[in-house]
């Protein structure tokens, strides 16, 4: 509050004071390892994920064949599909039934159905059709591939129907590819995004809330009291988790109601299956939160850990971008995240009407995840104040 020095110094800003402040901030920053890691880590992670992993024009989608007719033409068409890079032929299935099942379980994105007698009818000039069935629940994943399939016909026709067959290559293509967009025929993006949001919102809120649970005790000094009492780690951890299970179910309900009545997302499958899966998923996220909580030194660090966990979840789980569009290494990371499986489950139930046998491949990883992470949480819970 003293007046400015006579030699014209600016009392409202002192370079020395300011620099003292800057130095202090740098010193503190240097000692706060987690913040430092975030500062460096987040741009790197974001660049890596957005730059390499995310691909809104996914290629090499698993495509199964149901072959009713083998000929030069059908082989040539399949080869052309493969060469287009959009389709990766995974193998042949015995019948249409098996093809539908592959689509429902998500093992195939496309099923190409070559009807019996296709070649004969083609040569007769009857303009037969190939049937390409697509799992269109995520329109982004299938859009480009379906567009490409139309052009394949022309290409194959021009190349193969030459010489004696040239007469068969008039301006309208000699055969058609009929496309069936299954599960989301109008390619409504919300059908894909809204069910996905369920898992995203549960992940964010539950991990964050439980992440703070134990660090809050530690910061307020009440942890010492808890530790001095005859409570076991499992009691403390599960005791803290339970209220959030209820919170998670309430959130899930809100999202489902919004999906049904606000976004008109189809509700094909069973609601009880959906809630069972949601319960399992909630358990996964709560164990993650409680683990982060026992690892973090304070609430701020718990928040930072939460963010770290949230980032790959939102980007690599197939919520925002097609899972199949990611390079293999990113799919590997995605395969460890519970949100990946839960997205498949929710979309499977709501859009495809999947039942337990179809859901099982996505459910057991969730159960394994919850058990493993809970074991880690109990392992790292500090029984003492050491």
């Amino acid at each position: 509050m003293r007046p400015a020095p006579a030699e014209g110094g600016h009392s409202w800003f002192s370079l020395a004071r300011w620099w003292a402040m800057v130095s202090k901030e740098f010193l503190q920053l240097r000692r706060d390892r987690v913040t430092f890691a975030m500062i460096v880590g987040i741009p790197i992670i974001q660049l890596t994920l957005f730059g390499y992993a995310i691909n809104t024009d996914p290629k090499h989608m698993p495509t199964a064949l149901v072959v009713g007719d083998r000929s030069e033409f059908t082989r040539s068409f399949v080869a052309a599909m493969h060469n287009s890079d959009y389709f990766r032929i995974t193998g042949e299935l015995p019948d249409e039934e098996a093809g539908r099942r592959a689509l429902a379980q998500g093992t195939a994105q496309f099923v190409l159905n070559i009807p019996a007698g296709f070649t004969q009818r083609l040569l007769r000039g009857e303009r037969p059709a190939l049937l390409l069935e697509a799992d269109a629940s995520d329109p982004t994943a299938t859009g480009a591939a379906l567009a490409a399939s139309a052009q394949l016909v022309e290409g194959v026709a021009r190349k193969d129907l030459s010489g004696p067959y040239a007469a068969l290559a008039p301006s309208p293509p000699p055969f058609d590819v009929l496309v069936h967009r299954l599960y989301n025929p109008e390619s409504v993006t919300q059908y894909n995004i809204v069910p996905g949001l369920m898992g995203v919102i549960l992940t964010m809120t539950l991990v964050m809330m439980t992440g703070l649970a134990i660090t809050r005790e530690r910061e307020r000094g009440t942890m010492e009291n808890l530790l001095a009492m005859p409570l076991t780690p499992l009691e403390v951890m599960t005791g803290k988790i339970v209220p959030y299970i209820a919170i998670g179910l309430v959130q899930a309900t809100i999202i489902l109601l919004a999906a049904r009545y606000v976004f008109d997302v189809p509700f094909v499958g069973s609601v009880s299956a959906l809630y069972s899966a949601a319960l399992l998923f909630i358990a996964c996220q709560l164990t993650v939160g409680i683990t982060l909580s026992s690892l973090a030194a304070n609430q701020l660090q718990a928040m930072q850990f939460t963010f770290f966990y949230f980032l790959p979840n939102i980007l690599l789980s197939g919520f925002m971008f097609p899972f199949r569009g990611m390079p293999e290494w990113a799919q590997w990371i995605g395969s460890v995240l519970p949100l990946t499986y839960f997205n498949r489950v929710v979309r499977g139930i709501l859009l495809k009407g999947n039942d337990w046998p179809d859901l099982w491949p996505s459910l057991w990883p969730l159960a394994v995840f919850a058990l493993v992470v809970m074991a880690i949480a109990v392992r790292f819970y500090r029984r003492t104040l050491d």
Binding site: R220, T222, E224, L227, M229, R383, L385
Partner: protein, 343 residues
Amino acid sequence: MSGPASMSLSSDAPVGDGSRVPAAPSRDDLVIDVRGLNKSFGDKHVVVDLSMQVRRGEIFGFLGPNGSGKTTSIRLMCGLLTPDAGAGTCLGYDIRTQSAAIKRHVGYMTQRFSFWDDLTLRENLDFVARVYQMDDRAAAVDRALHELGLTGRARQLTGTLSGGWKQRVARASCMLHRPQLLLLDEPTAGVDPNARREFWEELHRLAAQGISVLVSTHYMDEALRCHKLAYIAYGRLLAQGTAAEVIAAQRLTTLEVRGPDLNAFVLRLRGMPGVEQTAAFGDTLHVTGRDRPQLESALAAATQGGGYRITPVDTGLEDVFIHLMQGAADNWAPEASGRQRAA
């Protein structure tokens, strides 16, 4: 509160191989018996070779300057911290391996208020009663609230209480499950004299019932109310025994000086051989030293020409503690600027 004093420790299996336990007091008589406890945080040796015994029904005072390792020692004894070296028993249970059993029978009151501000008084006490699996939960909570005089405020959030009341709540909570041993970490810091007196009367009542108390404090009057004392500085236990024993063990002589301008007198004394410490008490000065003849000749030299009266007096506990603290090597000095652990 918990059965007659003659009753032995507890029905559930006291342990320890007898070899570590001294023959003199019977094993069942020792509620705390630790040997050679050591604990370091990083490169800071917070507790060094701590050995001490507390008997059943004893109020054991734990004294020492701030950051001397009192809290860490208490935490080691109730299994909240694991010692780096050393071993011992608390209520007959091994402090390394049976901390769960210790926790059930010990009431630990933390230095910092550690109950939940966002719970009401009743909710806090009820939580404690549940955790200790008390049969007569509601009755115990009601009784505790009644004894606190807080029945009317049972629904008040604990965070809205004043410091003194919080302390009472914490005390009531740690006694709720009728522990056999109370570990109280500066329970009366910031408590008014009246409440302190009440508190100490309560402690003596409990001790008479066979409940043992280990209490850390900074107050000399409280130290004198303890059956036994231990003085710890820089992690080392420097003296232990009854107040009289602790005083006698240091073999200090204290001389009281009366006369004009004692401030100038103190300056003259400074640096003289034999004079270890001076303390002003109103219009008298206490001069303390270990070597009586040296001390007397120093005083004789300083009093030349003045009208001073010198009389030998009993050395007080405070004189002894100050002597102990000054004599203790500050083995943490190099790290003194570093992060301070709660201790």
